[in-house]
């Protein structure tokens, strides 16, 4: 890092003081300059008054995982000065508010310390506490613009877009930006050695968070019933879905709505609503996070055993228990895969970024209908809530939902007896009917023992027949879920296996290791159940690493159980402190091996 279009900086503020908008403005300006950029918001599980950070990474090559090194810290929260300054790389930079003398806690010998009196400038230029607090964020944005070379025209036009209809506000923001910019130019050596230069690398891309993208996927897949209970970091998924439905699904004349979104009383109810709606024939989903996954276990078993389509978005956060609700992890892999008591297995899709969150949301609804079972989409806080740079989302208008095997009244007329759970095709999926269909279509769904006719049974053979069919169905699922993404290099003997949001860091590690002369192949698993080729990839490498974000190596466990891959042939790289993965963690583990192999 540290150069033109290749650096990272981190802004430390206090939550509830309005810095989020300023951070967004920074990100977006860089993006508009055509330069690949990413931002990670590190916020506390509270509403006001506690430390919060925003990390921005710029990388011309498109390596947009979380940066391993901070080139510059912008320290605006006295409570975290010590921590913030400690994170700056050697020879890095610190920007602080020099309205007061340099605090002892910020002093460090091996860095360059830059001061701009943000507070004083605001006091001079604006009136009222509220305005001063708010605009201080814009002032530091202006200073940063000067320091790293953000195009002021880009900023101006973003401000115009945002505040176009509020002239007073627009003026204040323009003024604040300019004050910060001018002060930096006047007081400091601008720009810094690491700085921006316009590129053209973002024109086919967007900045979007995974929850918004997943909500769009649900919208486009034709989901009509959404049930949820608020929980960080999954809340914004249903909020976005709600907003999109209001935008696209309300009859202009009558005001009638083509959707039903139910804020349930808890996660059990949210799951129940989803399953009830799925049974009734709607594309239905719920979104939740860790504690919700625990609370939904009973219903997941019902839907599994009674073959009910339903989609569960799990925006994973740091567990166990309430854990760290505003920190990211991939800790629920086993809880999802084998959710509920009894013998159960559930398909899971693992998007790696918001673009895939969109795609996989759509796939999830198709799979749920095709497989008549709950489908998980396992995102995480980092994907779900942070803005990622991804390819523009597109839609193929020839898409029609794959509703799987559903018998209509006419279909029913042609058959002698409708047996809800009879596996006619040998793929483990039996045709269903929807409530409301007449004729022979009625059946009685239940979570208790039932035979292929959906009749109650306590008979061993009938019970086994049914659960054996479900096992067959799960094997069949492996042929329908997306295949892993494999990135090979000629001559590589090391394989890196990973999942979901670790993707960018692992790919960056692949590149960095290559620079060190270490060739590695990468396989990112996109779904559970695994295909045989997952096994082949691992077996075909002398050494394989499994990189994931949980303490217990849950993906690795699943690979052992489901594919029979020996534990020892997969070296775990586990990063579970709650931060998005950096390439450095992977590089150090691989390049440092065997000494660096964790237990």
């Amino acid at each position: 890092m540290n150069g033109v279009n290749d650096f990272a900086f981190k802004i430390g503020t206090v939550n509830g003081t309005g810095s989020a908008s300023a951070n967004g403005l920074l990100m977006r300006s860089i993006f508009r300059m055509g330069i690949p950029v990413t931002g990670k918001n590190l916020f506390p599980s509270n509403i006001q008054g506690l430390p919060t950070w925003y990390e921005i990474r710029v990388n011309a090559d498109g390596h947009l995982a979380r940066a391993a090194e901070i080139d510059m810290a912008v320290a605006l929260n006295p409570a975290t000065y010590a921590k913030d300054v400690a994170e700056i790389r050697p020879d890095g930079y610190l920007l602080y508010d020099s309205s007061w003398p340099l605090p002892q806690a910020l002093n460090r010998e091996d860095i360059t310390i830059l001061g701009v009196p943000f507070g004083r400038l605001c006091v001079e230029a604006f009136t009222g506490d509220r305005e001063r607090t708010l605009l201080r964020n814009i002032v530091y944005t202006g200073a940063l613009a000067a320091l790293i070379g953000i195009d002021m025209e880009v900023i101006d036009s973003l401000l115009n877009e945002t505040f176009g209809k509020k002239p007073k506000l627009l003026d204040a923001n323009h003024k604040a930006i300019r004050i910060g910019y001018d002060a930096a130019v006047e007081l400091l050596d601008c720009p810094l050695p690491f700085r921006l230069e316009p590129m053209d690398a973002t024109s086919d891309s967007i900045l979007i968070d995974g929850n918004t993208a997943a909500a769009l996927g649900a919208l486009y897949a034709g989901a009509t019933v959404g049930a949820w209970y608020p929980i960080t970091p999954s809340t914004s998924l249903m909020e976005a879905f709600t907003a999109f439905c209001h935008k696209y699904r309300v009859d202009e004349e009558t005001g009638e709505r083509k959707f039903a979104i139910l804020q349930a009383e808890d996660e059990l109810a949210a799951a129940g609503i989803t399953i009830g709606a799925g049974w009734a024939g709607a594309r239905a989903f719920t979104n939740t996070s860790g504690p919700g996954i625990s609370l939904m276990q009973e219903f997941l078993g019902l839907a599994y055993y009674a073959d009910i389509p339903s989609v569960f978005f799990n925006i994973q956060r740091c567990g166990p228990s309430t854990g760290m609700p505003t920190r990211t992890q991939q800790p629920d892999i086993l809880s999802m895969a084998y959710a509920s008591h009894g013998d159960t297995k559930h398909p899971i899709l693992f998007p790696a970024d918001p673009g895939e969150a969109f795609e996989m949301a759509v796939q999830a609804f198709d799979l749920a209908d095709q497989l008549q079972t709950p489908i998980f989409v396992a995102s995480d806080l980092d994907i779900g809530m942070n803005d990622w740079m991804v390819k523009r989302l597109t839609w193929d208008d020839s898409y029609t939902p794959n509703r799987g095997k559903v018998l209509t009244a006419e279909d029913l007329e042609k058959i002698e007896r409708f047996s809800r759970y009879r596996d006619v095709d040998g793929d483990g999926v039996a045709a269903r009917t929807l409530p409301g269909v007449g004729g022979k279509g009625a059946y009685f769904v239940r979570g208790s023992g039932h035979d292929q006719h959906a009749d109650y049974t306590e008979d061993s053979a009938a019970y086994c027949e049914l659960v054996d069919r479900l096992r067959r169905k799960f094997s069949h699922a492996a042929t329908l879920v997306p295949e892993p993404l494999v990135l090979t290099q000629e001559g590589a003997e090391i394989g890196l296996v990973t999942i979901g949001g670790c993707d960018l860091a692992v790919r960056e590690a692949q590149a960095l290791l290559r620079e060190q002369g270490i060739l590695v192949d990468v396989m990112r698993i996109k779904a559970f159940p695994f295909q045989e080729e997952v096994k082949e990839f691992i077996e075909s490498h002398e050494t394989s690493y499994v990189i994931e974000q949980n303490r217990d190596g849950q993906l690795r466990s699943l690979l052992m159980i489901e594919l029979g891959i020996p534990k020892d042939s997969m070296i775990p790289i586990l990063d579970y402190g709650g931060m998005p993965l950096t390439a450095r963690v992977v590089v150090e583990a691989v390049a440092g091996a065997p000494a660096g192999v964790p237990a």
Binding site: F31, L207, I208, L216, L219, Y220, A221, G222, A223, T224, V225, Y248, D251, T254, E256, R257, K258, F259, A260, I261, L262, A264, E265, D266, L268, A269, A270, G272, I273, I275, G276, A277, G278, W279, A280, G281, A282, A284, E298, L302, L393, T394, W395, D396, D397, Y399, T400, L434, P435, G436, G438, G441, A442, Y443, F444, V445, R446, S448, D455, Y456
Partner: protein, 374 residues
Amino acid sequence: MTSIAKPVVAHPRLKTNALGLTLRDYEGGMSTLCAGCGHDSVTAAIVQATWELGIEPHRAAKMSGIGCSSKTTAYFLKQSHGFNSVHGRMPSVSSGAAAANRGLSVIGISGDGDSLSIGLGQLSHAIRRNVNMIYILENNGVYGLTKGQFSASADIGSKLKKGEVNEQPPIDPVLLALSVGATFVGRSFSGDKRQLVPIIKAAISHRGLALVDVISPCVTFNNHEGSTKSYKYTRDHDVEAVEADYIPVCEPIEITGLSNGSSNGNGHATNGHADGRPANGDGDLRVVQLHDGGTVRLRSTDPSYDPTDRANAYQHISGCQSRGEIATGLLFVDESSRSMHDVLKTTSTPLVDLGHEDLCPGSAALEKLMGRFC
């Protein structure tokens, strides 16, 4: 074999309803409940009510949780889809089904364990949400299917077969429902078809959640009010020690006669005579003998009773309660309240019937939307 198929025999002379269907068309599989169980009488009332209303069987959805009561959905409307879900969670599953397809007539059946213990939260919230459904609570004061533990509606002083006495106050689903905003609340007795059938009909016709609490004695485990007495049969025969697993075959309890019977279609008792009528709106008092020799005292509403005043309803019910009586009849109704679909402003076409073109904004809209993310 919770449900056994009944022989289908054509009965050419059976009466038909508006759809040309006979009562038989509204029946289900053979019951596997204990002989004499109150729940079977409720089943019969549902069959009667849905037949009289001329519900199209395939448009009904039968929803339940887990328990003897929850099994009863298998015993009526065999041509309807049924969903025997998990314990205490029928309300949410029903909410989802109702949301997805507003064309369905959602008939939920539950027990007092299912609804007032594990399911109290879901019941309350389905009421608050005013889900478009009828919710029949087959209330026997015990957990029948798990062999007779007290439920949350067990009366103080009632006694289990093993001798344990309940000392916790009961939760009255009707008072609970009123306090969380129910828009339709009725109560009746399983064996009182004349009162129960019209209440069920009114409830099915209600726009929103209609709660019908049905006192439905468990012949096997509930010693009910007769708590201080030992089981009548036991007393008579003195054979406890070999009867660990013996359950006598009983006749279902039926209330006949006119006194709190024939109704004005709202479930109001019509011909109450002055039999200790202590408060406004109180109609007949019927004392019903249970299998165990105990009794329940049922007080129906009289024609002067105003079921549209929530506070009044609350007072009537708690007034009865304080006299050891159970208020029955159509106790409260608020037809002006908005149902779940009203609040959600759901389109009149059931969501499940919308085509993908109705739902998907298409590529152009997406392309346009992308501008927001640059």
